[in-house]
Symmetry: C2
Subunit: 304 residues, 2 copies
């Protein structure tokens, strides 16, 4: 089956052609400008191929509620031009194929589950710490949605003693994202995460906060593995510190063989950066099999 | 269909006979003593009826991993005699019927979803604050399991300024349960939650910590509703305070019509105390339909 995949990010749009086995045949990256500029470029790329379905894993927040009048939309993003934009609708309408839709991090979670370091798991959490802090969650083989979709990057964590940084989240100040994302590190120290010395206590704070999030996720959705990636995790030793802190915080409360080896319980991504696109291919495959992705959820009347 | 339901608690065992529509025909409560004393009493009660399947919602931790050698066991409880006890196996073996099994709080979550204040939801969180602090989670119509099962009562929360209580959790000290369960309130003030005056600042702390848990759950599993019950919630005004604090903490970040009315987003239980038994009836119905509950998961070789 020839499938189209789009990993829609705030900086770049990764477009790919592939199949249901996760083979990527062709890819093209477009910078994310306005929808008027960027969407036609992507449509041209996909229209040149005979794809049977599209899968889109997008930055958000997005509307994933099947039956919602704005299913397939990017909703309240501050990204200029993209708020209330019917991203999925544009592809369904112009390419005439069904489309599957989810968040970028849920897509990446799915990609890791199928082809990366989450293989063999049925419950997986994917965390990315970069420009923002996002999480995708798969429980019992299914991506989690509900009222909305996971936004666990904004979880509240306990501040480390001595840390008086107020955080940069415009909504919550010092929530997890407000303390740990790349721009938070830059705001705190005036230099980027990349420039921050390896031994700086900032990394201890970062490990502590991400470990708290890991603990809370373990206690909530009980994943079989947690995958943590993103630019900030490029810092040598950070992943190891998160593993050690998480185990320390759990304090032996949960008895599972999976927790006995933290090196395999908390891992880096294993798709060479393709996890988002691979997840999007899976979303496309599901949409191809279940045409409701076009017929039922796409709402012509409210398309704009 | 005639079904057996057991809500197994650390203090009492609620046994009931009912059907798949949630009608409870008969019930009997036994105090929880040792398995040697209490299990035969329960077996006698159920053996007198021609039930087609059992559903058990039990205190834990429990082993819910299908295919595990100790599926159906209560595992590491400090409750004397019940650690490593094959609770489900006893019923399957002695009554010769399939059995469904889950945690007490997942059972209660299911009961509320079907018959209580969670009706109409497909994603629901159930929180009980009493002797312990437990949470059941249903996402997209299915109870959440993974490596283990939700244990979100032990979530870490941010301490309120001025609160130097160290908590009573033997593993984590001042985790949510260590700060907010009934015995924590008693340890903090030397009097029970029931005796604590209505205007005591303790209730402000309690509301703040439970609201943080609500926020983190909303950001993680995105339930359509949260139900909070248990003895501690009997305090007048506490539920209202939790609602207000949760909305304040979310700070308008999530856009959903469901969050616009906190009185219907965070609710008390609506099954008159029967949520656990009603959930267990549903577990029995599922086991009756899918006989794997007996044939596959029950492991004769490791039964003891």
């Amino acid at each position: 089956m020839k499938l189209g995949a789009l990993e829609a990010g705030g900086t770049k749009m990764v477009c790919a052609i592939g199949d249901e086995a996760g083979h990527i045949e062709k890819r093209r990256i477009f910078p994310t400008r306005t929808p008027e500029e960027t969407v036609p470029e992507m449509l041209d790329f996909f229209a040149a191929e005979k794809i049977e379905a599209m899968g889109i894993a997008s930055f958000g927040p997005v509307d994933l509620r099947k039956g919602s009048e704005t299913w397939g939309y990017i909703t309240s993003t501050p990204k200029k031009g993209w708020a209330d934009f019917n991203l999925c609708g544009a592809f369904i309408r112009e390419l005439g194929v069904p489309a599957g839709f989810d968040t970028d991090v849920n897509g990446a979670c799915l990609g890791e589950l199928l082809y990366g370091n989450g293989r063999g798991c049925s419950s997986l959490v994917y965390i990315t710490v970069g420009t923002g802090l996002g999480m995708g969650i798969c429980a019992d083989g299914r991506l989690i949605h509900g009222m909305l979709h996971p936004e666990a990057g904004h979880m509240l964590v306990r501040k480390a003693p001595g840390d008086d940084f107020r955080g940069i989240c415009p909504y919550h100040g010092d929530c997890l994202e407000g303390l740990c994302c790349g721009p938070a590190i830059e705001a705190r120290y005036g230099i980027t995460a990349r420039e921050l010395p390896g031994e700086d206590p900032a990394w201890g704070y970062t490990a502590y906060y991400i470990a708290q999030a890991a603990m809370n996720l373990i206690l909530t959705v009980s994943p079989e593995r947690i995958i943590i990636g993103g630019g900030v995790l490029g810092h040598p030793g950070l992943l190891e510190a998160i593993r050690a802190r998480t185990q320390q915080l759990l304090a032996g409360y949960l008895k599972s063989p999976l927790l006995q080896n933290m090196d395999t319980y908390i891992m880096e991504p294993g798709c060479g950066g393709d996890q988002g696109v691979l997840g999007a291919l899976k979303l496309a495959e599901e949409a191809a099999k279940d045409d409701k992705g076009r017929k039922m959820w796409y709402n012509e009347k409210t398309d704009k």
